[in-house]
Amino acid sequence: MPPRPETFSDGDGETCRAGGVLDPRLRASHRTPDASSDEVAGLNPQTQVRRPAATRTSALLARYGLATLLFAAGLGLTHLLQPIVTYPFLYPLLFAVMASAWFGGTGPGLFAVFLSLLAVSYWFIPPPDSFAMKLEDVPYFAAFAASGLLASWLSSDRRRIERKLKERSEEVERKNEALRTEFAERQRAEDERRTAQEELAHAARVTTMGELVASISHEVSQPLAAVVTNASASLRWLEAAPPNLREAREAVERIVRDGDRASEVLTRIRALLRKTPSRQERLSVNELIRDAGALTRVEMLRHGVSFRTELDADLPPVAGDPVQLQQVLLNLIVNGIEATDGSDGGPRELVVQSERRDPDGILVAVRDRGVGISPEAAGRLFDAFYTTKPGGLGMGLSVSRSIVEAHGGRLWAAPNAGGGSVFRFTLPVETPP
């Protein structure tokens, strides 16, 4: 039962295989010990490089030489041990056969068996120094031949299996490495995508804020004007004869409150303009709506749009990024105001509603009584760079949608009953950990 010679291909074998499974790009960074001996093989999975004939021959010679050497050593040892342990002690020769098969492969193994048989029949089976043997010794000789062949075969087969196993585990390792690389690359791509999205969201936010400059400056200047007026009033109360300390004190208390209010507005705006990596917080949707309403109040006054909220008072908190969700609301409100601008007649009203939407969400609706959505716009509303506004970036709604979706919600538009349009979005309720 001779093993198939081709299964013996190893590091010194005839062919150098490069796995065709792997992406060449990945393999370039991780070369197997086999492939490292030959750059070309590593780079081109199709190539099977045949070594030059001379090299092959010398490798073959080396293996048979080794078998011969091992045999000679085994023979010498047997001779040496003969005074101590007498025939039929032939283990050194069997060991030489096993070692030849192990290191040299099937051919050298069989070669060692052949040499051993010759040596045994010549030297050890009586009569010594002759190939002749007695009939009673033939079974023993046959047994030795069989055990030699078996040893050779077992050894080479075991060697083959071990090599295969090693190859397999190396391949698995290689594939793992490739997976790791791929995973890292995906991770990097994901990071890049998120960064790009954050940049985009920021750009859209700045654009929205730009549209709200009048509103925002009003929100800051109003409390500041109140501070000045309160301070004047306080001085007058103090200068009165007798000074009215109660009134003066009340005015100063209002100054403190107004100063806080102005700085709160600034903090809020700074947060909206800053490029912040997204963070998760427990948020009250109603508070977000009220804040967005405050930031756009003057904008609505300017466009003669009245603002109304219908908020469900006991909504559970949501988990999310306050800046991004604020951005979504601002965007929808500013869009609503602009849509109202284009309509003629009808109530100029913007309504923001919040309600519990079972099983596990909050629904926010922004309704306007504006121009509504034309059929051709309806399909592309959330596309990037699609805009109906002159000078619009076309980023607002697409960014808003990706923000809402990143929070595990949905954003969609529909015609409003009684004219205009309604934009709705859902947010999942924060689940206790």
Binding site: S221, Q222, N244, L301
Partner: protein, 221 residues
Amino acid sequence: MSPERPVVFVVEDDPSMRPALESLIRSVGLRVQAFGSAREFLEQPRTGAPSCLVLDVRLPGLSGLDLQRQLTAAGVPIPIIFITGHGDIPMTVQAMKAGALEFLTKPFRDQELLDAVRQAIEKDRAAREQRDELATLRRRHTSLTSREREVMALVVSGLLNKQIAAELGTSEITVKVHRRRVMQKMQAGSLADLVKMAVALGPETPDEPPGPAVGSREPAP
């Protein structure tokens, strides 16, 4: 608290600005009534005291300019001082054209506002006095008999008693009696007073328009 004590109305929607304005105006001893919206202001009953209105231009719902227009249309002559966070020129022009007394941009100096308020109240007081006087005159004028009213119209148009008698077809004595009664009832000290009163009352003499009728007779002598 006498009804004559001036009152300043403030219509301002901003929750910071409203109490500040109230306090500032109160600090100079004026009465203040503040409202968060134009509608609230319109819903409260009119006062007999001299008053003025400090009005924010931008208000939710009815805007300051809308309120001004409505007050004018309703014949409520209250002086208005506009205040605004960011006044643009067209808006200022519109407000001033519609009769606003002052247009202040926040933040303003307290003195500016208080001066404007004082001025507005003075103006309102004067206007009210004028309106009261006119009302008194009207009352007196309606107390005249129709004959006396005819005589008065002819007197103030400059005719002599004799000419009036001829015009009305009565005796000069009768005209003299009517004329004296007119002077008494209208509480006019002199002919000049009576003429002024007639001017103040305007051309609303019920019988016939005396102006042209008398005027045509003027160059006769």
